[in-house]
Symmetry: C2
Subunit: 197 residues, 2 copies
Amino acid sequence: MNYPNGSKPKPVNKPVIQTKKAVKAHLGIDFEDMINQSNAYYLQNDLCVVYKKPTPIRITKVDYPSRNRARITEAFYQVPSTTDYNGIYKGKYIDFEAKSCNGKSFSFSHIYEHQIAHLDKVRKHGGISFLIILFNDYKEVFLLDALHLVELYEDAKKGGRKSIPYSYFVEHGTKISLGINPVVDYLKAIDVVFFRN
Amino acid sequence: MNYPNGSKPKPVNKPVIQTKKAVKAHLGIDFEDMINQSNAYYLQNDLCVVYKKPTPIRITKVDYPSRNRARITEAFYQVPSTTDYNGIYKGKYIDFEAKSCNGKSFSFSHIYEHQIAHLDKVRKHGGISFLIILFNDYKEVFLLDALHLVELYEDAKKGGRKSIPYSYFVEHGTKISLGINPVVDYLKAIDVVFFRN
């Protein structure tokens, strides 16, 4: 969502085309990029205002080679306090984490406990919170309401299953279309899950 | 809001005390810290869920001195895409920028045009957006509805005043109490401006 050199992606007016080829074309790019491109498309078309939060970095050393330009010479990645994405859609606060996984299930080891707690908190405050997951092996993307995620996580803590199987997403999640623009059309899934009436 | 070493601020049950001493005590700390402390207090007391977005950094070189620890050896600050703070309060999406200024007016040179546009966009999508400003010389903090900020900025672009005088904030803004906990009680000002009925 940052265009440091001022080059913005061109607005696209093409209809959404969902083909095997389109999906295949996406396999080469990172899932985060796919979500970011979708957000850029949504923003250009004024459908929602959602951004990826920057990665938190702890800066320990900075050089000033020129007056206006600070050069960071030592820094470390930090654990994010919350989730990767938040913003506003249809007047509602939305908040989600996007993950891709290999194999037949999504392991809780790939998400922080405090991120699940954050999604739960957002839900309790009247926001819309969920997980978006890409199953690489199935080439399928799902939205899962945080309600389910929290429930399963609580079960896992009590000795239940430490991962969420693909079949659970098929049954309780909502499939998200992959296309050209938007790449990951998650707003449609939000409409189905959270704006049903 | 990041507690990288796992040390969280202790929950505080003290009543809000607003004294000259309290205000004076804050003068030594950064305004951003004051807002962050307030957010931490609000979070602990489950009043809202608001976080500062991490500073965006463009990473150009990374070392891996040990398996688990990446050390960034060259990186640069980037211009933020949006504002510093967003989250949810009373079920509504809130979004704001916090600034401190010296002298008798706040100059538009201290805020990016795209940040003002972002606040305007949030407003149009049904969110609550505003500016929080600390006048160092007056030791006073105000909340200004983005509606006013956008209006004045449009005027400025058409040849109007390039800054917003303190008196404007007194007249059209809402004063925010400074205290011990929360340090900057901006939720009270939100209640006044956006939840009047």
